[in-house]
């Protein structure tokens, strides 16, 4: 049984309908994301203050070139990238947990991120050998699409291996994830040997996970995939709710189960792949965010998915602010921040759930 933070029924009224509470939570999260965005725009090594910029804007004064570059070419693409990546990671976590019917499924933990990363590295290193014509057409989109494809293949393998007759074995899923992660890591290691200096620098960035390389160009390549995945996710909400009762019950409720599973796997792969392509491996967002939200407003995916997108976006912005402030003027890779904050929360989830995770 799940130990719950509040009593049997306290906290969600006498009816057990938590949709009002979910709506309030979502509104609060919108405010949270806006505040985090403003804070993120005002934070950075360059010492450009948002207040000054605002004052100038109100008085109609021209911004200096420096201010304009820092705000619009560095901080704004970084802000948008952070929001999209955070939303994508949290939503792909929530969708994957719904698909696997297990709150511990997360693209980062079960190797989907590693698979996407391997494909991205492959694209970086081997992309140089592609005919120039193809390279010119693929351009900036090569890496995000490769990552998406890698994430898709990994998710498919994972699902095939760990799900029998509609039941997912947690142990098999986690072990298969370890195997896939190790395999991806080893192959990535081999690629490091044949990479040149520039490629090596690009590769190092995958391991750590960072928003520092965010630019309009990278954003333009990955954003469409992430936005598509984020728009597709809410369409899965009813089906994922039905799936919580089991595949048979979902089908009897009118869910086209197989089609929905395919769409869910595509969504997870697209969101994770594109996020990994722009920011490398940022962990724990996908597991911590949906879990916290389920505690507050329940597991109804119609509310959980949009709320996860918001909380994921806001938390990643916060983590990014911390990563920029903590050893300023240098900055810490954001993957380290999310791991330091998310790791203990993940352990806490495991402690509380001990005994009900059926292996």
């Amino acid at each position: 049984m799940v130990a719950l933070p509040w009593g049997r029924s306290a906290g969600h009224g006498a009816t057990g309908d938590r949709s009002d509470r979910a709506r309030v939570t979502i509104l609060a999260l919108v405010v949270f994301v806006m505040l985090a965005a403003i804070a993120s725009l005002g934070t950075g090594a360059a010492g450009v203050s948002l207040g000054d910029v605002l004052a100038k804007w109100i008085s109609g004064e021209e911004l200096s070139v420096r201010e304009r570059v820092v705000l619009f070419d560095i901080r704004l693409p970084r802000l948008l990238t952070g929001m999209l990546v955070g939303a994508s990671l949290a939503v792909s976590g929530a969708v994957m947990q719904g698909l696997f019917r297990n709150p511990l499924a997360d693209p980062g933990i079960v190797g989907v991120g590693a698979g996407a990363g391997l494909a991205a590295v492959l694209a970086i290193v081997l992309g140089a050998f592609l005919p120039p014509a193809i390279l010119a057409v693929a351009g900036m989109h090569l890496v995000p699409f490769a990552a998406f494809f890698g994430g898709w293949v990994t998710t498919l393998i994972l699902y095939r291996v760990s799900t029998r007759a509609g039941r997912t074995s947690v142990a098999t899923m986690l072990l298969a994830g370890i195997a896939l992660g190790a395999l991806s890591g080893a192959l990535t290691g081999i690629l490091v040997y044949i990479a040149d200096d520039q490629q090596l620098r690009d590769l190092t960035f995958w391991g750590l996970g960072s928003l520092a390389g965010a630019s309009w160009a990278k954003l333009a390549a990955a954003a469409p995939i992430m936005v598509l995945a984020l728009l597709a996710a809410p369409m899965l909400a009813r089906a994922l709710n039905g799936l919580a009762l089991g595949e048979g019950a979902a089908a009897h409720l009118g869910v086209a189960v197989q089609r929905m599973k395919n769409l869910a796997i595509l969504t997870v792969a697209a969101a994770t792949g594109a996020a990994v392509a722009v920011s490398g491996g940022i962990g724990f967002i996908g597991i911590v965010v949906p879990h916290l939200l389920r505690l507050v407003m329940g597991p109804d995916h119609r509310f959980l998915l949009p709320a996860a997108a918001l909380l994921g976006a806001g938390l990643l912005l916060l983590a990014d602010i911390i990563s920029r402030l903590i050893i300023a003027p240098a900055e810490l890779p954001i993957g380290i921040v999310t791991a330091v904050l998310g790791g203990p929360v993940f352990l806490w989830i495991l402690l509380r759930r001990r005994g009900i995770v059926d292996m």
């Binding site: 049984m1 799940v2 719950l4 049997r8 029924s9 969600h12 009224g13 006498a14 009816t15 057990g16 309908d17 938590r18 719904g98 019917r101 297990n102 709150p103 009813r238 709710n241 039905g242 799936l243 919580a244 009762l245 089991g246 048979g248 019950a249 089908a251 009897h252 409720l253 009118g254 869910v255 086209a256 189960v257 389920r294 329940g298 597991p299 109804d300």
Partner: protein, 262 residues
């Protein structure tokens, strides 16, 4: 009218149904009985589309398996034997999952989960967590969800169906009777009910039509008095059984004691 013909199912290497079939009418309660392993649940699962099978299943002469899931969900609801819930939903939220299709558009849709819970005797349970209920309470909460899915037994003149797999297995006698009355009420209101049952006495009390199974085949089907005979039951269950009627009401009941005494 629901008709299943020549249903054969193979699970692994073993063929568990050998050309079984049944017919059921809306407005009546059809109960499938038989000993353990006779294929009752398998037949129900083949009819509801949970299992791949050979043979045909038609609803008003329409191939049931050709209907898309959402259309099928408007026509019938299925109560599974037991289910494990993946996330901590409240009882209300579980029941609300039954609000699919046109019923979700009704102006009073928000009140319906509560009313469905009242019907199964779980009023006031909405805010409890489903996983914290006892087995019998979980079964009734699931029944409320299923009832909600086909809330009106007849919609636009088309009867809807309830498929119940051992609906009373986990229940005490009071709730067994309550659930059987609910199913009967659904049938009396024009809907169709097909249930798999273990309890022969409840079957005799509530069924309009009985399908008796043995070894993956239908041994007999028809009215209660014809099917639940000494001979049929003794053969199906492999022990001496004797059917009796209390003189006052003329209803049928089955006591193992009676057979021993004869």
């Amino acid at each position: 009218m629901l008709e299943a013909r020549d249903i054969s199912v193979t699970l692994g290497r073993k063929q568990v149904l050998h050309g079984a079939g049944l017919s059921a009418q809306p407005g009546a309660m059809t109960v499938i009985v038989g000993p353990n392993g006779s294929g009752k649940t398998t037949l129900l699962r083949a009819i509801t589309g949970d299992l791949a099978c050979r043979g045909t299943v038609t609803l008003n002469r329409q191939d049931m398996r050709a209907l898309p899931p959402h259309a099928l969900a408007e026509r019938r609801a299925v109560l599974p034997q037991a289910s494990v819930l993946a996330f901590p939903f409240t009882v209300h939220e579980v029941v609300r999952l039954g609000l699919t299709g046109r019923i979700a558009l009704r102006p009073d849709a928000a009140q319906l989960p509560g009313r469905a819970l009242e019907r199964v005797g779980l009023e006031g349970y909405g805010a409890r967590f489903f996983q914290e209920l006892s087995g019998g309470e979980q079964a009734r909460a699931q029944l409320a969800r299923v009832l909600l899915q086909v809330w009106e037994p007849v919609q636009d003149g088309i009867p809807r169906w309830l498929f119940l797999d051992e609906p009373v297995a986990a229940l005490d006698i009071g709730h067994q009777l309550q659930v059987m009355h609910l199913a009967r009420r659904f049938a009396r209101a024009g809907g169709g009910v097909v249930a798999v049952m273990h309890d022969l006495n409840l079957t005799a009390m509530f069924a309009d039509r009985v399908v008796l199974m043995l070894d993956g085949r239908v041994l007999a089907q028809g009215a209660v008095r014809e099917v639940l005979s000494d001979q049929n039951l003794s053969r199906a269950y492999g022990c001496r059984l004797r059917v009796s009627s209390p003189p006052a009401q003329g209803a049928t009941y089955i006591l193992p004691q009676a057979a021993e005494m004869a």
